[in-house]
Amino acid sequence: MRQVRQTLWNLFSHSWITLIAITILTIVFVSFQLIIYVAEIQQSDAFKASTMTNLVLACFWGIYIGGALLRLKQYYLWKINQCFRQTLVTTYLGLLGVFNLLLIFPAYLNINSNHSPLVLVAPFCVSIFASQVVLAKSLILRAIVPVTPFIIGQLYWLNVDESLIMLLIIASTCGLIYYLYQSSSYRRTEPQDMVFPVASQSTGFKPSIVFKFNYFISLMIANHITKNKKNVSWSILLPHSKLAIFSFFYVLLIFVFLIFLGGAKKSMLEVFTLIFISTSLIAIVMEARQLLPQVKLFSHVFTEVDHRRLKNKILISLDKAFTYNGLIFITGAFLVGQLLSLESDALYFFSASIATLLIAMALHPLLLCLTWINVSLTQILVVSVYFLAIFFVSGWIEANHNSLFYSWEVLLFFICLVITRTLAQVLFWKKPLEKLLKTK
């Protein structure tokens, strides 16, 4: 029992600042639910709004607790000591289970809806899937597995029974828990991958395949990389071109899903816009942070006292990486929109992607020079703001789609981004190089 108590404490306390941020969000979201209960809103809308906020909270808590689990799971005892493994898994499941049930139960009781009782476990399932953002072994899995329940949820639009959908989600959650229990995170990379651990770790592909992709794409879209040989860009963004593959991959997925889905196309686009944010804004920056220490090998070549030229090269490299990925994604979205006659949804998608791209370019200097804990906090804030923005701004985009790019709101948004970028860049310049290179 003492071990369970200590594990509980360890799962909670692994990052205090993030914990405080999520707790504040939880309080805000729960208050929002209380307002829904007392406001005279239609029951089905109230339940939907309440469930959505619960699911967002479930995602945050899943990622947070999953992060702690991963750090404990990497210890060798996970492989050889069953007691250690069972304690971790039961505490992790118990914590998420109780927490998510407490979240949804008042809504279920207070709002007289006709939903299946199975809905009560939905936030728990979503938490478990969201944990895969950190627990999954490759970046592809980290991006795909967490959205699985949302993708299964889209079956609702194909008139599949709600209980059946929930049973599918529960069954896949059980499978995921079994996999979580069986798999080990001890030394995720094998020795043969140690030369470029990030290459294989982030994609799940063999390094040789990643290098072939990189070579092919660098020939196609980033010719200057090969001209400049192994430059700063290459050092900190080795995987950036394979992230461009992600863009292709998501465009393809969207295309397939849109063919199958008759209605609710916009709903799918919302989901995929969120995925794009997580893969472009977060993934590129996080991978660059991991690779940044490689610059140590040749940073002495840049002789200026404040390493301004080197720092600028790092920033420009990231700007280019965002641009490649963003352009591929946006082009893909445009083509899908044209092919499926989804002009208005495509416009929504197109503007969301452009906004994501610009936000990423404005924020990345900040994310590069913050500590790991503060980066987690910033990510949570960015994703939260995005989540809210997607739902609130979509209506505005629909209303203003004719003058979307000429409105004063867009101009204001752009000015805000320029100011953010300037401030972030100044912070990045001022941060001593040795502190930047220590970032993990």
Partner: protein, 296 residues
């Protein structure tokens, strides 16, 4: 009477893609032995130790601890094993005391007093966060964790690589005390050959995927030597001298090294070859260099 080895490995192979790291390796380790495992960088020492710990799976072959396969080992037996990996990550947010108390809770044999003694003896601040420890301090922390279990089997992968000489000496004396007290078996890999002379009673050399040399340290030290074979003419390595390695013909004989106990004595070989053989004892460090050179 034959005793059952604590660790018994038979024909263990492990490869990474096309790189065969362990090649039908067979090895038995007896209870109470302190075995130093040597080998070049990339020879497969960590792979072997982590396979013994069931942290990696061999491609083929058999591994038994206490005459049982890993899956047959019950929990109390597993709890008798201590392990320190080469580079341990995780637990950065915990304080040293919290980490030790947390991990200690999973081992019924955990000796809290001994753990606290080691912390104060090795100047490890219990209030410091694990993530703030230096490389050497982090290694000490995990060594303390492994020793506080009072393990019957202790597997250490380069445990002293980041320690200063004084800490190394203290750690080695703890190992000796532990084995005297509990008759524990210790297997540790190291590049610091001088350490193994102080603590190990057996030395093993992993090269070309097998345990190429496995000898009692004292027996080995009394056998290894640099030899000078005197004659009037250069001498080629005939079958009589096959046990000698690094053979170098000279104008007046040859030089070579003896790197393992010989089947017949030097005097016998000298008499049979009708030569005069002078021997100069080798240190273990020189022995390691000679065998590495011989292996190419």
């Amino acid at each position: 009477m034959m005793t059952t080895p604590i660790i018994s490995i038979a024909n263990l192979s492990k490869s990474y893609q096309n790189n065969l790291v362990l090649n039908s390796l067979s090895w038995d380790i007896e209870q109470g032995d302190i075995v130093a495992l040597l080998g070049k960088n990339g020879a497969g020492k960590s792979t072997l130790l982590e396979t013994i710990m069931n942290l990696r799976n061999g491609d083929q072959g058999e591994l038994k601890l206490w005459d049982k396969h890993w899956e047959q080992l019950d929990q109390p037996t597993r709890e008798k094993i201590g392990f320190v990996a080469q580079d341990i990550k995780g637990f950065e947010w915990m304080r040293v005391s919290d980490f030790l108390s947390y991990i200690g809770g999973f081992f019924p044999t955990w000796n809290k007093d001994y753990c606290e003694q080691l912390q104060s003896r090795w100047n490890l601040d219990p209030k410091k966060r694990v993530g703030d420890l230096s490389g050497g301090q982090s290694q000490i922390l995990h060594v303390i964790q492994a020793l506080s279990i009072k393990p019957e089997l202790l597997i250490l992968d380069e445990p002293v690589a980041h320690l200063d000489p004084s800490m190394r000496r203290q750690f080695l004396s703890e190992l000796i005390e532990l084995t005297c007290e509990l008759n524990s078996t210790v297997v540790f890999s190291s590049h610091i050959v001088s350490d193994l002379e102080r603590v190990a009673n057996k030395v093993a050399l992993l090269q070309n995927g097998i345990i190429d040399y496995y000898y009692d340290v004292e027996q080995l030290k009394s056998s290894i030597a640099h030899v000078k074979i005197s004659a009037d003419i250069p001498i080629e390595q005939t079958p009589l001298f096959t046990e000698f390695v690094n053979w170098r013909p000279l104008t007046n004989g040859a030089t070579a090294s003896v790197v393992r106990p010989l089947e017949s004595s030097i005097e016998n070989i000298a008499a049979q070859s009708n030569t005069n053989i002078e021997t100069t004892p080798l240190s273990l460090e020189d022995w390691y260099l000679e065998v590495s050179h011989a292996a190419g």
